[in-house]
């Protein structure tokens, strides 16, 4: 069995205090609980400060291009369903350039845990407005205040048919780790949107502000994450300021319905060779 320490690779270069440390720690806490050997874990990440996580979590990693974590993760998981596949990136990566893949991964219900380190800013490119920055948000690209309404990741996930929708907060690492564990165990597409403060470029979404405004639905009396309508209502009414497991359904998974007992990674020349006469006959 692996321990948290086994999952440590390079020392993170994130700014001291960055929320992303908590995400890494939560994964390092949750993964050992699953009993999956390290070599069967793959983390696919995007471009951004958040995207560096694949260099810090020791496992197989794929640090792709901006916004394309989910297609790469889909390819990996489909090719080898034995792997535990995590996709991780930022709010710009996932909800700006990559939002199409998010919607399609959700409706495809690919068995991937998608962790978005949502700091409401473009961190690595030094502080531009992101799709989750609120209307009126000022940054170097919107000095007069953002003119757009923000993307609401939870609402979008619910509308897109995601089977597991949760939100974590870097200031609550215990809950975050537990959400990660649930998401990783979930057989299907699981979104974990993590409110992960950027201490260098976004003072609006600070730890303090978030701590004050987030409603913990894991401890909300009577909240049933299996009820879609309630989940939608909560997300709308609280403007997404929730933490905990928002929605959990059981939909049939995508990979199971596509991949049989043999995996695409099992490169094989024998069967087509054996069945060659049959194949040739088809073309006659």
């Amino acid at each position: 069995m692996i321990s948290s320490a086994d999952l440590r690779a390079d020392t993170p270069t994130w700014c001291p205090g960055c929320g992303d440390f908590a995400v890494l720690a939560a994964l390092q806490r949750a993964l050992p609980l699953l009993g999956v050997p390290r070599e069967n874990i793959v983390i696919v990440s995007g471009i951004g400060c958040s995207g560096k996580i694949s260099s810090y979590l020791r496992a197989y990693g794929f640090h792709g291009v901006h916004g394309r974590t989910l297609p790469v993760a889909t390819g990996i998981k489909t090719a080898n369903p034995d792997l535990l596949v995590i996709a991780a990136g930022g709010d710009g990566d996932g909800y700006a350039i990559g939002v199409s893949h998010f919607i399609h991964a959700a409706r495809r219900n690919i068995d991937v845990t998608y962790i978005v380190m949502d700091n409401h800013i473009y961190g690595l490119t030094t502080g531009q407005t992101s799709p989750t920055s609120p209307r009126g948000f000022k940054s170097k690209t919107t000095p007069a205040g953002a003119a757009e309404e923000p993307v609401d990741p939870l609402a979008l996930a619910l509308a897109s048919g995601a089977g597991f929708v949760a939100q974590g907060f870097s200031g609550e690492i215990g809950q975050l780790a537990s959400i990660c564990e649930q998401a990783l165990r979930y057989r299907g597409f699981a979104l974990v949107n993590v409110l992960s403060p950027c201490v260098s470029f976004n003072r609006e979404y600070s730890y303090d502000w978030l701590r004050e405004h987030l409603v913990d639905i894991d401890h909300e009396p009577g909240y049933d994450p299996h009820d879609y309508a309630t989940a939608v209502r909560y997300v709308t009414e609280h403007h997404g300021l929730l933490r905990g497991a928002v929605y959990v359904s059981d939909r049939p998974g995508y990979v199971e319905s596509l991949v049989g007992t043999r995996r695409p990674v099992d490169v094989d020349w024998e069967e087509p060779k054996a069945r060659w006469p049959e194949l040739v006959a088809e073309f006659n």
Partner: protein, 628 residues
């Protein structure tokens, strides 16, 4: 006759495609070698479409340069294609449908057939197409039951009644034609048995399956989608998967993910989708992830001519993606080669750990022809896969996925392999994988990657040469126009020219030293491409392979380049039976003339299996094959 070209033309949505397919398959089963090609518009109903099927006693590589029997269901069939009718051609049409008659001055045989009435008699007007091919078979003096088995296979799902009705329709047409016109175009009996009938796209799909590929992610696009169709029908039986992605960016990133996981993975697309893949191609190059990309080119730029053929994505294949990566670009010339090259591409992608682009096009991809039986799958070469038992990682050390090696290629670990954990990143990176910016490592890593292809050599398959050992005229081509150039060469040779035909198969890395001897000595170099700006010419020039003056044949109207396009430079014509003034018996392409010493079907042509290599040009440039 040695060969006959049949065309059925009408409005799209009238079932022209299935009619042509039935005709081609039936004649193939009969023992002839067929080559079928469909012309179609970018709309679903209406707009002229036609299907030409060349039927020959030996293997043929184009749909020919003339039409011998035409079944015309619309005005455009004759208006636009009448000029291709050979002398004495038969035109089947329904006199009650009020169609135009052939242009004056063409010596054709009008064969009015009450197609609608006969179809109704068989069970429904919808079967008039089938009546028409029955009539064509009649004119050719074939068996009345020639279509029976194909009709059964085609309509089996619709029930015995439909099968029987269609069989009857074909026989009605056959009987009517024989009765009223007799045999106008009798084909000499078959001499050999073609092995398979398939399209270039199907050959690509089959090649992928044979190569051990079990993962396709793609987004529908004409003319590439039929690769996806075939694989979605077949992969599941072999443990493979097809994903219809949300777009081409997703598709190639999925394929890269699957390649990283250890699958042999591919994506297939055409120009617009290919343009969208540029960023990811760089990612594959940088992370050294094998991936195979099929670009079935169509008329560009932009949406361009979506149902027409062109070879105009070459610049992008060579220069697309920002920054510099190793990449391989190969262009199959024939349907057989589409199979062989695709099969080989997966080896190359894994051996060199880089993207491999296959430059197909609409003409090659959608043409459907008889070919010899394709070589059966055989174990491929997966390149340097890390073997933990023989190459254990140093104690406590992380796996050096990007170990700097002499040949630039590093053993690859696959997820699931204990001890092989690493991160692949599109950033510049260290031997272990994580991003790094140190100038020294950067330079080392760039050199490592770019060095990988230094020794790349497709061997005898890199270029193909046919013709005179010391040609005066050298035709140079790439990709699907091989057949047209081969025909042109044959006509030129018959006209007494010393002529050669050089076909570039490996485009990147370009086999410069293999090409140089051919190009250095030819007096009259004619570069033939289906594009406007001469992209291959520019590519050859980049390597100093061309003299200042060459001649060019560029076709970019959306139709395949033909022997006629080439021969026009000499005022020659490819057809024996032409319109008055065009007749040139010596120009007739006789089947079999194209098959050269060592190019027998059993041995396959041009052959990518090293063991089977026969007719390719040697590095030194000795031209080994002669015109018979």
């Amino acid at each position: 006759m040695e060969e006959i070209v049949f065309m059925v033309g009408g409005q799209s949505g009238e079932g022209i495609e299935s009619t042509g397919d039935i005709f081609a398959t039936a004649l193939h089963r009969y023992g002839y070698w067929v080559f079928g090609f469909r012309h179609f518009p970018s709309r679903i109903r209406g707009g002229h479409t036609n299907y030409r099927v060349r039927v020959a006693r030996h293997q043929v590589y184009t749909h020919g340069n003339r039409i011998d029997i035409m079944a015309a269901f619309d005005r455009e069939s004759l208006d636009e294609f009448g000029a291709l009718l050979s002398s004495g051609a038969a035109v089947i049409f329904d006199p009650s449908a009020g169609q135009s008659t052939p242009p004056a001055g063409i010596d054709v045989r009008l064969c009015p057939v009450p197609l609608g009435d006969l179809a109704n008699k068989a069970g429904g007007a919808i079967m008039k197409n089938v009546v028409s091919i029955g009539a064509a078979a009649g004119l050719m003096g074939l068996d009345p039951g020639v279509f029976d088995s194909v009709i059964r296979d085609t309509f089996a799902k619709k029930g015995e009644k439909v099968v029987a009705a269609n069989q009857k329709a074909a026989r009605e047409g056959f009987a009517y034609a024989q009765e009223h016109f007799g045999v106008t175009h009798r084909l000499s009996p078959p001499v050999s048995s073609p092995g398979m009938i398939l399209s270039g796209n199907e050959a690509v799909a089959l090649g992928a399956l044979a190569a051990g590929c079990r993962f396709l992610a793609a987004y529908p696009i004409t003319p590439a989608t039929s690769i996806m169709y075939w694989l979605v029908d077949h992969f599941p039986q072999f443990g493979g998967v097809v994903i219809q992605a949300e777009d081409e960016i997703a598709a190639i990133n999925m394929a890269i993910g699957a390649g990283f996981a250890g699958a042999r993975a591919m994506t297939s697309t055409s120009g617009p989708g290919f343009s969208l893949m540029m960023e990811a191609i760089g990612l594959a190059g940088m992370t050294e992830t094998p991936v195979v990309i099929i670009d079935v080119q169509r008329g560009g730029p932009s949406t361009g001519l979506p149902t027409k053929t062109e070879q105009s994505d070459l610049n992008e294949m060579l220069g697309g993606t920002h920054g510099e990566i190793p990449r391989i670009v190969l262009a199959p010339s024939t349907i057989e080669q589409a199979y062989l090259i695709t099969r080989r591409a997966f080896d190359l992608a894994e051996i060199y750990q880089c993207p491999v682009i296959i430059a197909s096009d609409l003409f090659l991809g959608l043409a459907r022809a008889s070919v010899p039986v394709l070589p059966a799958p055989a174990p491929g070469d997966r390149g340097k896969l890390w073997d933990p038992s023989s190459q254990p990682a140093a104690d406590g050390e992380r796996f050096r996925r990007y170990r700097v090696t002499e040949d630039g290629i590093s053993p690859r670990s696959l997820p699931g392999q204990r001890g092989g954990e690493f991160v692949a990143t599109g950033n510049e990176h260290s031997e272990f994988g994580p991003e790094i910016e140190a100038p020294g490592i950067r330079v080392t890593m760039m050199q490592k990657r770019l060095r990988k292809l230094a020794k790349f050599d497709l061997g005898d398959d890199a270029v193909w040469y046919g013709g005179d050992e010391h040609p005066d005229v050298l035709l140079v081509g790439w990709g699907a126009s091989w057949g047209a150039l081969a025909e042109a060469r044959s006509v030129l040779a018959a006209a007494g020219k010393k002529v050669g035909h050089l076909q570039v198969v490996a485009i990147m890395p370009l086999p410069v030293e293999r090409l140089r001897p051919f190009l250095a000595n030819a007096k009259d170099i004619v570069i033939c491409e289906s594009n406007a700006t001469g992209q291959m010419e520019a590519h050859l020039r980049r390597y100093g392979l061309l003299p200042a003056q060459v001649r060019r044949v560029n076709r970019y109207d959306g139709n395949p380049l033909t022997a006629a396009d080439v021969l026009a430079l000499w005022d020659l014509h490819p057809r024996a039976e032409g319109r008055p003034g065009e007749r040139d018996p010596a120009a007739m392409v006789l089947p079999g003339q194209l098959r050269l010493a060592g190019e027998t079907p059993a041995e396959g042509w041009p052959v990518l299996d090293p063991g089977l290599a026969v007719s390719g040009a040697k590095g030194g440039g000795e031209a080994r094959d002669q015109q018979r």
